[in-house]
Amino acid sequence: MFRRLDTPLSEITIFWEDRPLTAYQGELVASVLLRHGISITHHGPTTGSRGPYCMMGVCFDCLVDVDNRKAIQSCQLVAKDGLRLNRHLNLAGTGHPNDA
């Protein structure tokens, strides 16, 4: 499991599927998730389970749903207190029009 070497002072809380996770100001959401053992950020019928791969915005495998926005790259998203995240259901390749 991923672990952080330091413990910054500015602790915040974000939520993964309603479960509170400790995060630090300025931390990337993908990093917070990995640190809490959450490595599957999205899944779908054609892709199966996926998680962060490139950490630089290229692969789109770290997608999550944030508040009411769908399919956001968690490696490009900076954690803010109270952020509510959910696993993204990826309908890519199924021709589903709702896969925004």
Partner: protein
């Protein structure tokens, strides 16, 4: 009146250097970068980390070198916009960018693409499994938040590969295995390029030191091939063959973290979608935009600089950025920078480039990652397409990549071919038995990043002329 004299896309080594030189020449400069902070991938979060230099010393000397440039960049007066995603370049010269969810159009007299590089896709069996990441991704976690994983297996080759493992060791993470896929010094063509590389003795020595340390402190395997990443919903183990003997020795290392690396390639999606001419670089096995030595591309007013125009590393990228900044200033104002400064940058770039022919050969990507033969290997991550599915579509009489995309959706997903393009190109070239450079890449069109309908609607309202 255009909004700016120059807009630079990317705030890595090349982008920052371009901005400094252009701004010093009196131009108005805007830098757009898609990451949360400037520094690019190589000097990611440099400014912030510099404040914790003691506790983050594991990032190493080369990393801290970036601080000087980042400081100069901030002091230069160039305007910077973080988390700004550029998705289109249009004519007359302007670009479309989304900043904080709002799309807008900005015009400039010159546009410089300093979009850097990203890691070459590594289509091995199981590379799509959660728990498998790129080595660069692992390094990003280290730089961005001092985060790493114990018991990881590193699979690959290249400067970034050895550097990141060294950083991991310095940071105190345990490493379960290092599977080196490099070809080693064996081949005569590699040895022939060695004398030129001796221009950079310090860099060569550094590489040797890294390797010696990794061999001493980790379970290290050389000449690795036949790699499989095993697991159902998450990676559980790496199986591979290693050694020089025939048959090779089989090995399996259980781990829930596997980091892959097969070198980096220029980030050309924006330059391709903007109509710049590209050529296939035989040695680096990727597309490069065709530019003159100042970075001027085939399209009037658009420049490409740093690794986005060909892989040469951060040292060369800084020099290239200054050179391009000077060229833009000269083209727009007629002002030239002191010739001594220009020559200094040119010399520096030459020195850094001298190392490349050697590195390109020494760290050439493994054949099985270039043209995957395993039927179940995922080729297109976005659409979840396997090698068998892509090859089946090829059998339907497909001539090129664009047609293939229509048949099987490879390259249609969000990453817009960044993760499958080179692999599909290699497979299709193989299928038609033609050299890879004769197989044109996807015809890329803007937007080069997914743009939501809401963004577009707001965009059109704001600018009724479009």
């Amino acid at each position: 009146m255009p909004d700016y004299d120059v807009i630079i896309v990317g705030a890595g080594p090349a982008g920052m250097a371009t901005a400094i030189t252009a701004q010093q020449s009196g131009l108005s400069v805007l830098v757009l970068d898609d990451q949360p902070d400037h520094g690019g991938q190589v000097w990611r979060d440099i400014q912030q980390n510099h404040q914790h230099r003691q506790s983050r010393s594991f990032l190493g000397e080369d990393y801290w070198k970036g601080h000087q440039l980042a400081k100069a960049f901030l002091a230069s007066g160039a305007e910077i916009q973080h988390q700004a995603v550029v998705w289109q370049i249009a004519h007359p010269l302007s670009l479309s960018v989304t900043i904080a969810g709002i799309a807008q159009n900005l015009s400039a007299r010159a546009i410089v693409l300093a979009t850097g590089a990203y890691e070459r896709p590594v289509p091995l069996p199981g590379w799509h499994l959660p728990g498998v990441m790129t080595v660069g991704g692992a390094q990003t976690l280290l730089k961005a938040s001092a985060t790493g994983a114990d018991g990881a297996v590193f699979v690959g080759t290249g400067p970034l590969f050895y550097l990141t493992i060294t950083q991991y060791l310095d940071a105190g993470f345990s490493v379960a295995g290092v599977c080196d896929t490099g070809a080693g010094l064996g081949s005569p063509s590699t040895l022939l390029t060695l004398p030129l590389a001796l221009v950079q003795p310090k860099m060569l020595m550094k590489g040797l030191r890294w390797l010696r340390r990794i061999k001493a402190e980790t379970p290290y395997f050389a000449h690795v091939s036949d790699i499989q990443l095993e697991g159902q919903d998450h990676v559980e183990a790496v199986a591979f063959a290693h050694g020089k003997g025939r048959p090779k020795t089989k090995m399996r290392i259980p781990s829930s973290h596997v980091f892959l690396h097969q070198g980096v390639i220029p980030n050309v999606n924006l330059s391709m979608a903007s109509g710049l001419t590209h050529h296939w670089h035989h040695r680096q096995m990727c597309w490069h935009p065709i530019c003159d030595r100042h970075g001027a591309s085939s399209v009037e007013g658009i420049y490409v600089t740093g690794d986005a125009s060909g892989i040469a590393g951060s040292g060369a990228a800084v020099a290239s950025g200054h050179i391009t900044g000077a060229a833009v200033a000269k083209a727009l104002t007629g002002i030239t920078i002191p010739i001594t400064a220009l020559w200094r940058h040119r010399m520096k770039r030459l020195q850094h480039r001298a190392l490349r022919p050697f590195l390109d050969r020494l760290y050439a990507p493994l054949a099985e990652t270039l043209t995957p033969i395993d039927a179940n290997t995922i080729i297109c991550r976005c659409e979840g397409l396997t090698q068998a599915q892509v090859t089946a579509a090829m059998g339907l009489g497909v001539a090129g990549l664009n047609q293939l995309k229509a048949y099987c959706r490879a390259g249609m997903g969000r990453c817009q071919g960044r993760m499958c393009g080179l692999t599909v190109q290699a497979l299709l070239a193989d299928h038609h038995k033609i050299p890879i450079q004769d197989m044109p890449y996807y015809r890329l069109r803007p937007p080069v990043r997914p743009v939501t309908l809401a963004e577009l609607a707001a965009f059109h309202q704001a600018d009724p002329d479009i």
